[in-house]
Amino acid sequence: MSDAKPNQPRDMDGKLVPELSSSHAEMLVLSVLAEGSAYGYRITKQVTATSGGSFSLGPAKLYPLLTRLEKQGLVTASWEEVKADRSEPDAPGRRRKWYRLSAKGRKRLEGRIEAHRQFTALIDAFIGGRGGGQEERA
């Protein structure tokens, strides 16, 4: 954490929020999309909300990731014309890009979840419930 990257987000207490690795970021984005279609900004908010602020998926990481996922066929995209709530009546609308999880993406997500579970089970086998076990030793 001492090697904080520039613009690395911080939580309410000013502590640095750990950045996600690309693999985890992919897994979280696909998980969010498994719940339903979403656009980029909504995905970042969903990740922050679901993790209780523990994870941050910034736009600098998210949007190139979404580009890659789309190119790989793991997600499909479509455009919507929107008008911002606060925009002036005569202001032109903007376009919003919605993402949807594809069948291939769903399969990829299932594979990653399974790999994550296996890894977690292995780690648990090593640590064997320590942390809560200190009271027993005493």
Partner: protein, 414 residues
């Protein structure tokens, strides 16, 4: 170079202009096709507007919110690099797909005959690489495309797949692709701060050729996996050949054993035949002796006028002759039997065979076999055909049996 913050502050007065200006800068850095640049711009603008709205709800002013929102995007150059990397992965895949489709289209145009022919004249084919914008121009391809094109390589997997046509994709193709994706694709995915080390590779098996698009690391690992598979296939085939050779050796040993037993049987029958022949000669001598004695004694009795003795001699001769006739019949029957057994031993059920392969162990045709010729000529001359006029001919030696060749079906023993 001014920072984003300074740049956006300079461009004020409205956040709308600031956002637009920043997006202009980013767009110039993207170095991508126009449609991709515009899509990225539109998406980021939507993000920034949403973010600004949320920040303003917390009490920020619009310019402050705009600065904060843009700041969250980080260094513009770094962001542009991220988009270029992501787009290149897609571009390479597009090239891969287009290359494969172009190659398949070219093959279909050429037809199977020219595809398989080594002296094929080059014909019009889609060009490689695909220029930006996705246009495919007709051009003349070299006859030998080589083993590699940039990150695209091909591998011969003819030993690993079974296909009937050059464009077929059998079940082994999908198994092979899945195996390579699982083993050779390095994507460190658990609790690591490192980035993925390589973009996801693309694999296609068409006929007996595996096309791979991937980084150097993936190609090295894929080549190792393929070499291991070839080694395993080679070992399996070696084992099968070994088992087949062992089976054939077993079969030949069985043939040799049966043939040895047959030869021993033939020798035994020859010995019996010689014995019967000796007995027949003894019988003939005895018969001649009996006849001589009868003639001599009858002559004397006649001279002496002893008619009673003459009659008695005649009766005794009858009795002895009848006994000798019985003995002759017995010898003939035994000779007939030995003859039949010899014929069976040579051409009957005792002859060993393996999977329909029935070597002609006497080599030459039966007509050249003195034993068979004699047996055939004297067949039926025993009990059915009357007495032997002379001693049966000795059995002439049959041709020696040649060694059985090592591989069945490679030829006769002679």
């Amino acid at each position: 170079m001014t920072s984003v913050r300074e740049r956006t502050e300079q461009i004020e007065p409205t956040s709308r202009d600031a956002i637009g200006s920043w997006l202009d800068v980013l767009e110039r850095m993207l170095d991508l096709p126009s449609d991709q640049r515009q899509a990225i711009r539109a998406e980021l603008e939507d993000h920034l507007r949403n973010r600004i709205d949320d920040l303003m709800i917390t009490g920020m002013s619009e310019p402050e919110a705009a600065r904060a929102a843009v700041g969250e995007l980080g260094e513009t150059a770094e962001l542009a690099r991220g988009f270029r990397r992501a787009a290149r992965a897609g571009k390479r895949m597009t090239m891969m797909h287009a290359t494969v489709i172009a190659a398949m289209g070219g093959l279909l145009t050429l037809g199977a005959a020219t595809f398989l022919g080594p002296n094929t004249q080059p014909v019009e084919q889609p060009a490689m690489p695909i220029p930006p914008g996705g246009e495919v121009r007709a051009a003349v391809l070299p006859t030998d495309p080589g083993e590699a094109f940039d990150e695209l390589r091909r591998y011969d997997v003819s030993a690993l797949v079974n296909v009937n046509s050059p464009l077929e994709q059998g079940p082994e193709a999908h198994q092979l692709i899945e195996l390579l994706e699982n083993l050779a694709f390095y994507n460190y995915s658990v609790y690591s701060d490192e980035e993925d080390t390589e973009d996801e590779p693309m694999l296609v098996v068409i006929g007996t050729t595996l096309f791979v698009r991937g980084g150097e690391g993936f190609h090295k690992r894929a080549a190792w996996v393929l070499a291991s598979l070839h080694e395993a296939v080679g070992k399996q085939r070696g084992l099968e050949n070994q088992r087949r050779a062992e089976y054939e050796r077993e079969q030949m040993r069985a043939i040799e054993k049966a043939e040895k037993a047959r030869q021993e049987r033939i020798e035994e029958l020859r010995s019996q035949y010689d014995e019967m022949r000796t007995r027949f000669r003894e019988y003939q001598l005895e018969r001649m002796q009996v006849l001589e004695n009868f003639k001599k004694n009858r002559g004397q009795a006649k001279k002496q006028g002893e008619s009673d003795l003459e009659m008695d001699l005649g009766r005794r001769f009858q009795i002895e002759s009848t006994e000798l006739d019985f003995e002759q019949q017995d010898i003939q029957e035994r000779l007939d039997r030995i003859r039949e057994l010899l014929l069976d031993a040579e051409y009957g059920a005792a002859k060993p065979t393996v999977d329909g392969f029935s070597p002609n162990l006497f080599g030459a045709a039966a007509d050249e076999n003195p034993l068979l010729e004699y047996l055939r000529s004297t067949r039926g001359r025993g009990s059915r055909g009357g007495a032997f006029a002379e001693v049966p001919q000795p059995l002439k030696a049959a041709p020696r049996v040649q060694e059985i060749p090592a591989t069945p079906g490679t030829g006769r023993s002679r």
